[in-house]
C-alpha cells in the first residue's frame, strides 16, 4: 500500500492546478452568471491533453492513468464545476466506451479526435421516461440492410449543443427488454438529428444541457458499438467509470467550499475575534476536511481498480455516493460559515452549493448508487 502520488500524478496535479487557478477560476463567476459555454477553456484543456487523460497516446489521449484523471477533474472542478463536467463527459462517457468496446477502426476514426479534443462527445442514454430506470428505452433502432433507422428523444444530454459525436443507446429488440439495447456512435451532424434548447438549470449553468431529437436518423452498421444487445452492458460499464469522474468533480466543489470558508473564517471578526476561533466554526471546517479526505481516497481506490481492469462497480458507486453527498454537506456548511455573505453572489459559496446538487443526481442518483452497493454486498458479502 502506497498513499503517495506518483511523479506523473503529481505532475498533472501541478499542471491542472495552475491552469485552473490562472485560467478557469477567474471566469467561473461570469460563466455561471451568463451560462456561456466556455469554448476557449475547452480548447485550452484539449491542448493540455485533458480531454482524453486516460486514453493511450496512440488513440489521441494523454496516456495517463485514471488516478491522474481524478486529480485533473478535482482541480478543474475546484475552479469551475461547469467546465469540469464538459471534461468528464468527454473523458468518461465518450472516450472510454470507444476505447473499451470499439473496433480498431472506431478507435482510429472516432476516438482519436475525441481524446485529442478536436471533437467533443456526449452520451445519449437518458430519456424523458428513462432516468434511473435506464433499461426502459423508448428510442428504437430498426435494422434496414447495412444501416439502422433511429427514432426517439434523449434528454438532459450534457454537451449536446456542442458535441460532434454521441454515444447513443437505442432498442434494437423491444422483446428482450434491457438486453435488447444497442450502443451506437452517432455523428451529431447526421440528417434527422435536432438538438433542443439549452436547459436552464439550478447550477453548472455554463455546461450545455439539451435534448436530442432523432427522426429517421440513419446510422451505418459500422458505427454500432459492440454487438446488438450489448448496449446496457456498455452503458453500465461506462457509468462505472463516469461515476469516478463525478466523484472527483464533487471533491473539487467540496474543496472549493472549504477553501472559501477557511479564508473567510480567518478574516471575519465577530464578538471581537475571528470566527475561526469559535469551536462551532472549527467543527464545521474539520468535518468538511475529513469528509473530503474520505471521498478522495474512495475515488482514488475506484480509479486504481479501473486501471487494473478489476471490477469496480461497487467502489465507483461508493466513491460517487460519498463524494457527492460530501459536496452537498460541505457547500451548505460553506454558506453557513459565510452567514449572510454566503447568500450573496459576491462570494462563490452559493455557486458551489448550486453546483454540488447535481452531483447527487446525474450519472446515477444517490438512490441508484445505494442499490448498486447493496446488491454487490448481498451478492458477495
Amino acid at each position: 500500500m502506497v498513499f503517495d502520488l506518483t511523479e506523473e500524478q503529481r505532475m498533472i496535479q501541478d499542471m491542472a492546478r495552475s491552469f485552473a487557478q490562472k485560467e478557469v477560476l477567474p471566469k467561473a463567476a461570469e460563466l455561471d452568471e451568463t451560462g456561456r459555454f466556455p469554448e476557449e477553456l475547452v480548447r485550452k484543456m484539449a491542448d493540455l491533453g485533458l480531454m482524453g487523460v486516460a486514453v493511450p497516446e496512440e488513440y489521441g489521449g494523454a496516456g495517463m492513468d485514471n488516478i491522474c484523471y481524478v486529480i485533473a477533474m478535482e482541480e478543474i472542478a475546484r475552479a469551475c464545476a461547469s467546465t469540469s463536467v464538459i471534461l468528464s463527459v468527454n473523458n468518461s462517457l465518450a472516450c472510454d466506451p470507444i476505447l473499451k468496446f470499439g473496433s480498431e477502426e472506431q478507435r482510429r476514426g472516432t476516438l482519436v479526435p475525441l481524446a485529442s479534443g478536436k471533437h467533443l462527445g456526449c452520451f445519449g442514454l437518458t430519456e424523458p421516461g428513462a432516468g434511473s430506470d435506464a433499461g426502459s428505452q423508448k428510442t428504437t433502432a430498426i435494422r434496414n440492410g447495412s444501416r439502422y433507422i433511429v427514432n426517439g428523444t434523449k434528454n438532459f444530454i450534457t454537451n449536446a449543443p456542442h458535441a460532434d459525436t454521441c454515444i447513443l443507446f437505442a432498442m434494437t429488440d423491444k422483446e428482450k427488454g434491457h438486453k435488447g439495447i444497442t450502443a451506437f456512435i452517432l455523428d451529431m451532424k447526421a440528417k434527422g438529428v435536432t438538438v433542443g434548447k439549452n436547459e436552464k438549470k439550478l447550477g453548472i449553468s455554463a455546461s450545455a444541457t439539451a435534448s436530442i431529437i432523432l427522426e429517421d436518423v440513419e446510422i451505418p452498421e459500422e458505427n454500432r458499438l459492440a454487438n446488438e444487445g450489448d448496449g446496457f452492458k456498455v452503458a453500465m460499464h461506462t457509468l462505472d467509470g463516469g461515476r469516478i469522474g463525478i466523484a472527483a468533480q464533487a471533491i473539487g466543489i467540496a474543496r472549493a467550499s472549504l477553501e472559501g470558508a477557511l479564508a473567510y473564517a480567518k478574516e471575519r471578526k465577530q464578538f471581537g475575534q475571528p470566527i475561526a476561533n469559535f469551536q462551532a466554526i472549527q467543527w464545521m471546517l474539520a468535518d468538511m476536511a475529513t469528509e473530503i479526505d474520505a471521498s478522495r481516497l474512495l475515488a482514488y481506490r475506484a480509479a486504481w481498480l479501473k486501471d487494473r481492469n478489476a471490477r469496480h462497480s461497487k467502489e465507483s458507486s461508493m466513491a460517487k455516493l460519498y463524494a457527492s453527498e460530501t459536496a452537498m454537506r460541505a457547500s451548505v456548511k460553506g454558506i453557513q460559515i459565510h452567514g449572510g455573505y454566503g447568500y450573496i453572489k459576491e462570494y462563490p459559496a452559493e455557486r458551489h452549493f448550486r453546483d454540488a446538487k447535481i452531483t447527487e443526481i446525474y450519472e446515477g442518483t444517490s438512490e441508484i448508487q445505494r442499490l448498486v452497493i447493496s446488491a454487490a454486498l448481498l451478492k458477495d458479502g
Partner: protein, 381 residues
C-alpha cells in the same frame, strides 16, 4: 498510489482474520457477559507476534509496521473488541518505548511486551484531566537516585495486567509547567490499583484507576528527557488513534456482517428483509462509511510507517472511523429489530463496544479541534 497490500501485509491480515473468526469470535459473548479478561486470546496474540508489531526484531518484536498492525487490529476487533483494545494498548506502549527509550530500557521492557509476559499500559488520564490532558496533577519530584511519584490516574486500560505502565507526571510547575514520562512497574512500592471499572462495553478489557503514594521510580526509568513527557504522550496518541480507528472499523464490520446475514434470513411481508430498499440503503451506507474509514486509517498508518508527521491524518481517521462505526453498529441493531436488542444476537454488544471508540484516546470533539487547528495553520491539502 497503490492500494495493493504487500505480500506480508496480506498474509498477516488473512492469518489474523481466520484466527479471530475461529478463536475469538466464538467466545466474545461469554467474555462480555462475564466481564472476564481474555487471557487465552492475549496468549495467542503473543505467540503469533501480534503484541509487538511495532517493536524491532532485535528486541523481540515482529516489526511488521503500522499498516500491517492496523490490518491485524481491525481483524482482532472484528472477532472480539475487548481483545482488540488489550492488543492496541500493548502495541502502543511497545512502539513508544521503542521510539523514545534508551537501549537499556528497550532491553528491559520490550521483550516482555512482545512475548506477552505482561501487557503495556498508558497512564495519562486523571479524574480531573480528560480532554484537558495538560491539566494533570500527578507529580514526580526528584529525590536522590529516584523520582517520588504521587497522584492518581483514571480509566487505565491494562492497568492491572501490565508489566510496564507509561505514567505521565508533572516534574515542574513553574514558571512553565513541564510533564515527564516514566516507566513504572506494578510491583513498585507505593503503586496501587483500584478495582476494575464496570463498563457499558469492552467488558473483557481491564480498566482500572491507579494511585501512587510516595512511589519511588529510579531515574533510569525516565522515558525520554525530563519535560518531554507531553510530546511523548501526543506522539503515542497519534499512533494510538489510528489503532482505535482500526478497532472501530473491525467492530463495525462484525455488526455489518451480522446485519447482512440477518437481513437475508429474516422474512417479513412474505420476503427477506434484504429485498426492501430501506434495509438495502442502511447496508449500503454502512459499507461505504466503513470502506472510507478503513482507507483513512490505512493512509494515516502509511504516513506513520514512512516517518512523516501524521497528526492530522490520525485525527481525521479516528473521528471519521469511530463515528462511522457507531452509525454502522446502530443500523445493525435497527435492522435486527427486536432481536437486535436481545443478547442472543451480537449486535447490541457491538453497539456497546463501539461507543467508547469515539471517547478514548481523544474524544471526537478533541479530534475536531486538532483537525481545525491544523487546517487553519496549514490550509487544505
Amino acid at each position: 498510489m497503490t492500494f495493493l497490500l504487500s505480500e506480508e501485509q496480506a498474509q498477516i491480515r488473512d492469518m489474523v482474520r481466520s484466527l479471530a473468526r475461529k478463536e475469538f469470535a466464538p467466545n466474545a459473548a461469554e467474555i462480555d457477559e462475564q466481564g472476564r479478561y481474555p487471557e487465552e486470546n492475549m496468549k495467542l496474540l503473543a505467540e503469533l507476534g501480534l503484541l509487538g508489531m511495532l517493536i524491532p526484531a532485535s528486541h523481540g518484536g515482529s516489526e511488521a509496521g503500522p499498516v500491517a498492525y492496523n490490518l491485524a487490529l481491525a481483524e482482532v476487533a472484528r472477532g472480539c473488541a475487548s481483545t482488540g483494545v488489550g492488543m492496541a494498548a500493548t502495541n502502543m506502549v511497545g512502539e513508544t518505548i521503542a521510539r523514545f527509550g534508551t537501549e537499556e530500557q528497550k532491553r528491559r521492557f520490550l521483550p516482555a511486551l512482545a512475548s506477552g509476559t505482561g501487557g503495556g499500559a498508558f497512564a495519562l488520564t486523571e479524574p480531573a484531566a480528560g480532554s484537558d490532558a495538560f491539566g494533570i496533577a500527578t507529580v514526580a519530584v526528584p529525590d536522590g537516585a529516584d523520582y517520588v511519584l504521587n497522584g492518581g490516574k483514571a480509566f487505565i486500560t491494562n492497568g492491572t495486567c501490565a508489566s510496564v505502565t507509561i505514567v505521565m507526571a508533572v516534574t515542574r510547575k513553574e514558571p512553565e509547567k513541564r510533564i515527564s514520562a516514566f516507566l513504572v512497574e506494578p510491583q513498585t512500592r507505593g503503586w496501587f490499583s483500584g478495582k476494575p471499572e464496570r463498563k457499558m462495553g469492552l467488558k473483557g478489557s481491564n480498566t482500572v484507576s491507579l494511585s501512587f503514594d510516595d512511589c519511588r521510580i529510579p531515574k533510569g526509568n525516565l522515558l525520554g528527557k525530563e519535560g518531554e513527557g507531553f510530546r511523548i504522550a501526543m506522539n503515542a496518541l497519534d499512533g494510538g488513534r489510528v489503532g482505535i480507528a482500526s478497532q472501530s472499523v473491525g467492530i463495525a464490520r462484525a455488526a455489518l456482517d451480522a446485519a447482512i446475514s440477518f437481513a437475508r434470513e429474516r422474512k417479513q411481508f412474505g420476503q427477506p428483509l434484504s429485498e426492501f430498499q430501506a434495509i438495502q440503503w442502511m447496508m449500503a451506507d454502512s459499507a461505504t462509511d466503513l470502506d472510507a474509514a478503513e482507507l483513512l486509517a490505512l493512509r494515516a498508518a502509511y504516513h506513520q510507517e514512512t516517518g512523516r508527521p501524521f497528526t492530522r491524518e490520525a485525527s481525521i481517521a479516528k473521528v471519521f472511523a469511530t463515528e462511522a462505526a457507531y452509525r454502522a453498529c446502530h443500523r445493525a441493531v435497527q435492522i435486527h429489530g427486536g432481536y437486535g436488542y436481545i443478547r442472543e444476537y451480537p449486535v447490541e454488544r457491538h453497539l456497546r463496544d463501539v461507543k467508547v471508540t469515539s471517547i478514548y484516546e481523544g474524544t471526537s470533539e478533541i479530534q475536531r479541534v486538532i483537525i481545525a487547528r491544523d487546517l487553519l495553520r496549514e490550509g487544505c491539502r
